[in-house]
């Protein structure tokens, strides 16, 4: 039984049922039934057309479950007049499903859960474990999300930016439990890129691949963070880097720059450098200037200050930082790094400790505490 094949077929089968007028929740149940049936039947009797088989079985299940409902019978009759499921391209159906699952009426966490369930074909238990919440909580989150979008018409084009934001959230969750959400996000973004021609989709895919390529080197075996400059570049996934760079270049050639492409360009410049010293910080600053123009985000300005510090020296970085609100997340960490490079170790140590106190993750807190301790132990007490 090929689980990957089943999961890759799930969204288009679901999309077909919904387009034919099935209520989202009922369609999802029917597709799950069909998948279970496939697991049971296929090993002994594999179908020639896997998707056609799934559509037929799921549609029959849907009809069975709605047959008793008088109101739905009319819709069923109407649907019966449609041609039997064939091998029609499912491209648009899958795309619609992405838009539906990232509908603006959903909260971010609901959109993420629904996307993983409906487009990704993960089980509720897998999603719950990945997000470290009880299965009952996740089941409710998903069924609420389904109810929220069940009245949404399927005929309007959706907002690509919203879909990309949801996929980016999935990617950012990384790895926990038995599901690698980063790999899952890459798979879904790849699938989306195959059905929609949009430079920002390619930009996000490139960004994910470039970050994913560095994952093995980003943490030591004991879980501590390894900063970019100290990473063992031999452990970077060169194949993923090459693919990310190629996808990015094709996207940039379209001359419709967006924030994901610009972020991917920064990541590509890091990935391209054979050593940390050879990083092209001047060009990175230029990409951050583009990002500031595109997003006007304070976090981007903060990252730009880091790049300026590398390109033009710590004083220039500190000057760029001075214009920013000190309450920004990671402001103290950046300031500490720049002060250390400027030789003011006492200020750097104090700021590292302050940054550790505000760190949003355990790994980051430990890393910053270590930096503070490293500077303290260098100075006479």
């Amino acid at each position: 039984m090929n689980e990957a094949l089943l999961r890759s077929l799930t969204p288009s089968v679901l999309g077909i049922l919904v387009r034919r007028g099935a209520d989202f929740t009922a369609a999802e149940d029917a597709v799950q039934d069909a998948l279970l049936e496939a697991v049971r039947v296929w090993p002994a009797d594999p179908p020639r057309d896997a998707k056609g088989w799934l559509v037929t079985v799921a549609w029959r299940r849907f009809l069975d479950s709605t047959r008793s409902d008088a109101a739905r019978r009319r819709r069923e009759d109407r649907a019966d007049e449609e041609p039997a499921p064939g091998s029609a391209p499912a491209v648009d159906d899958t795309l619609q499903l992405y838009f539906l699952c990232a509908h603006p009426s959903l909260t971010p966490s609901s959109a993420v859960a629904l996307t993983l369930r409906a487009v990704g074909g993960l089980t509720t238990r897998q999603i719950a474990r990945a997000y470290l919440v009880p299965e009952a909580t996740m089941a409710q989150r998903i069924s609420r999300a389904k109810r929220t979008v069940s009245g949404v018409r399927f005929d309007r084009p959706g907002d690509v930016a919203t879909v990309l934001r949801v996929l980016y959230l999935v990617f950012n969750e990384g790895y926990s439990g038995d599901v690698d959400l980063a790999a899952e996000a890459i798979r879904l973004t790849r699938q989306l890129a195959a059905v929609i021609d949009h430079p920002e989709v390619k930009g996000l895919l490139a960004l994910m691949l470039l970050h994913h390529a560095r994952r093995a080197a980003r943490t030591a075996p004991d879980g501590t963070l390894v900063p970019l400059a100290e990473q063992d570049r031999g452990r970077w996934d060169t194949e993923a880097i090459a693919e990310g760079v190629a996808i990015l270049q094709a996207a940039l050639a379209r001359d419709r720059l967006g924030e994901f492409q610009a972020q991917a360009a920064v990541a590509a410049l890091h990935a391209d450098a054979p050593t940390a010293e050879e990083t092209d910080w001047v060009q990175i600053v230029e990409w951050y200037d583009e990002l500031v123009r595109l997003t006007d985000s304070p976090v981007v300005r903060l990252n730009r200050a880091v790049a300026v510090g590398e390109a033009d020296g710590p004083r220039a970085g500190l000057a760029a930082l001075a214009a920013l609100d000190a309450s920004l997340p990671r402001h103290a960490a950046v300031a500490a790094h720049l002060h250390e490079r400027d030789g003011d170790l006492a200020t750097a140590a104090r700021l590292y400790a302050e940054a550790a106190h505000k760190a949003p993750t355990l790994a980051e807190r430990d890393h910053l505490t270590l930096q503070a301790a490293r500077l303290h132990s260098r100075r006479p007490r």
């Binding site: 919440v133 990617f171 950012n172 980063a182 970019l228 990252n303 880091v306 790994a363």
Partner: protein, 139 residues
């Protein structure tokens, strides 16, 4: 999608506005309070925001290692001065604002006279797993 811990104290939090010890409430008031807490948890499960909740016994003991070959020290005469956690609830919400809103609702649980207790709840964010995308370019 951030997890928060809501801590309820027996002692150690600032005094509630409606500060009447629970053993002075009427049985109906206690039932109403318990019902409110249960309904609150059930509602959060439905919204997909509930993670965990437990109540703790009022008696707690401080314990400390006291050196090689010696039994651990437990706290003695000043036990009544320490903070005591009454219980917790863990939520998983989309924003800090939502976490504050829910803590506010929990603090409004009915107490003596059927009026909200206005008790202080401590709200603490969980330290998350490191994100896949480093937010700082040198991270």
């Amino acid at each position: 999608m951030a997890k928060y811990l809501m801590l309820k104290h027996y002692r150690g939090a600032p005094a509630a506005a409606n500060d009447v010890p629970m053993d002075r409430w009427t049985p109906e008031e206690i039932s109403a309070h318990i019902q409110y807490m249960n309904d609150f948890a059930a509602r959060l499960e439905k919204t997909g925001e509930f993670v965990d909740g437990q109540a703790l016994a009022p008696e707690g003991t401080w314990v400390r290692y006291d050196g090689e070959g010696r039994p651990p020290v437990t706290d003695g005469p000043f036990a009544e001065t320490k903070d005591l956690i009454a219980g917790w609830m863990v939520i998983d919400v989309d924003s800090y604002e939502r976490a504050v809103e829910l803590a506010g609702e929990l603090s409004a649980a009915p107490g003596a006279g059927g009026k909200p207790i206005h008790e202080w709840l401590e709200l603490r964010p969980f330290l998350a797993a490191p994100p896949t995308i480093p937010e700082c370019p040198h991270g």
